[in-house]
């Protein structure tokens, strides 16, 4: 058991991954409850989940918040056209700001889309997000860099991503959501 790491190679691990996707059971011994569902002992579940956390397959384990009801109502995708040879430096500097919630380099897409650096800012309102964007531009030396700010005005669909093929568990599938 301890040597099997890949959920794709062990159906019990695939079932475990599937079973915790929708959430940990809210009981004093959640890992024992999960083990019962998928045919593993409590110890095996604890070992496996610990390894997944340690190795980064699980990025975080805990509360996954819905940002809108918590008062984060303004969500801006800010995109920049920065020189390719500086994008790494700038991206790292940008991501050090606490209000930046995601930061990625992505490909440009022709004249329609010249931007190669994307960051997300979640804030309480547009006014404060705009102020944060100005601050970010100053701090990263990007005040004269072409950029666009795309606020979201409607969210049509929000659910957690599902990564694994359906595996037979008899488990119910509740809605899975993740912060956008």
């Amino acid at each position: 058991m301890a040597t099997v790491n890949d959920p794709r190679e062990d159906p019990r691990l695939a079932r475990l991954l599937e079973a915790i996707q929708s959430g940990l059971p809210l009981t004093p011994r959640p890992y024992a409850a999960l083990g019962e569902r998928v045919g593993l002992s409590e110890g095996e579940v604890v070992d496996t989940v610990s390894r997944w956390v340690r190795e980064g397959l699980i990025k975080r384990l805990g509360v996954v918040v819905r940002h809108r009801p918590l008062g984060y109502r303004a969500n801006a995708m800010v995109v920049w056209d920065v020189p390719d040879d500086r994008v790494g430096d700038i991206g790292r500097r940008m991501s050090a700001h606490e209000f930046v919630t995601l930061c990625y380099r992505r490909p440009r897409r022709g004249e329609d889309w010249p931007y190669n650096l994307f960051c997300m800012i979640h804030g309480r309102d547009r006014h404060s997000v705009n102020a944060q964007i100005e601050l970010l531009a100053e701090a990263c030396g990007l005040t004269d860099t072409p950029r666009a700010v795309l606020f979201s005005n409607r969210c049509f669909k929000q659910r957690g991503a599902r990564y694994l093929a359906e595996v037979p568990t008899g488990d119910t599938r509740s809605g899975r959501m993740s912060p956008a």
């Binding site: 699980i58 509360v63 996954v64 990564y163 912060p179 956008a180």
Partner: protein
């Protein structure tokens, strides 16, 4: 929101223990009993403040593929197109944004091949060009919502 709920949200966005009695262990640091912590989390879920209590996976490490994609959708057809796009189970989020590229969605697929296939299927279903923008590099941020 109570002070206790606030503390649980601020301090448990990660780092939940993996051991026999994790609520007991996490509760001690928050000054809550095992039952109290379970009750607070259940209450936050019931109020819709949490989408779940559990893991955030690293999609690529699971062999999956994530991509951000955008389309230019004529305003009059927006809702109809959104419905067609959202009908794909691989579409995880879909947002309307203020730009000529006005529909932005995240695709989560089990494999990179499947991602390309779904993008083609979405183009066929909508008659619109999909601008696919998979990430090249992710710069680490500590995604944390303080309340």
């Amino acid at each position: 929101m109570t002070e206790t709920e606030r503390a649980v949200i601020n301090r448990l966005q990660g780092g939940f223990p993996v051991c026999e009695r994790p609520f007991l262990e996490a509760g001690e640091k928050l000054g809550l009993s095992e039952d109290e912590l379970i009750g607070v989390i259940r209450g936050l879920l019931d109020q819709g403040l949490l989408s779940r209590f559990g893991p955030l996976y690293h999609a690529e490490r699971l062999g999956g593929a994530l991509s951000l994609a955008a389309m230019k959708v004529p305003e009059a057809e927006f809702d109809a197109i959104a419905e067609r796009v959202n009908a794909f189970p691989e579409v995880a989020h879909n947002y309307a944004r203020d730009h000529a590229l006005n529909m932005w969605f995240v695709l989560a697929t089990e494999t990179p091949e499947r991602r390309r296939a779904v993008l083609r299927e979405i183009e066929a279903a909508t008659g619109l060009t999909v601008y696919d923008m998979p990430k090249i590099t992710e710069y680490f941020v500590g995604l944390h919502f303080a309340v």
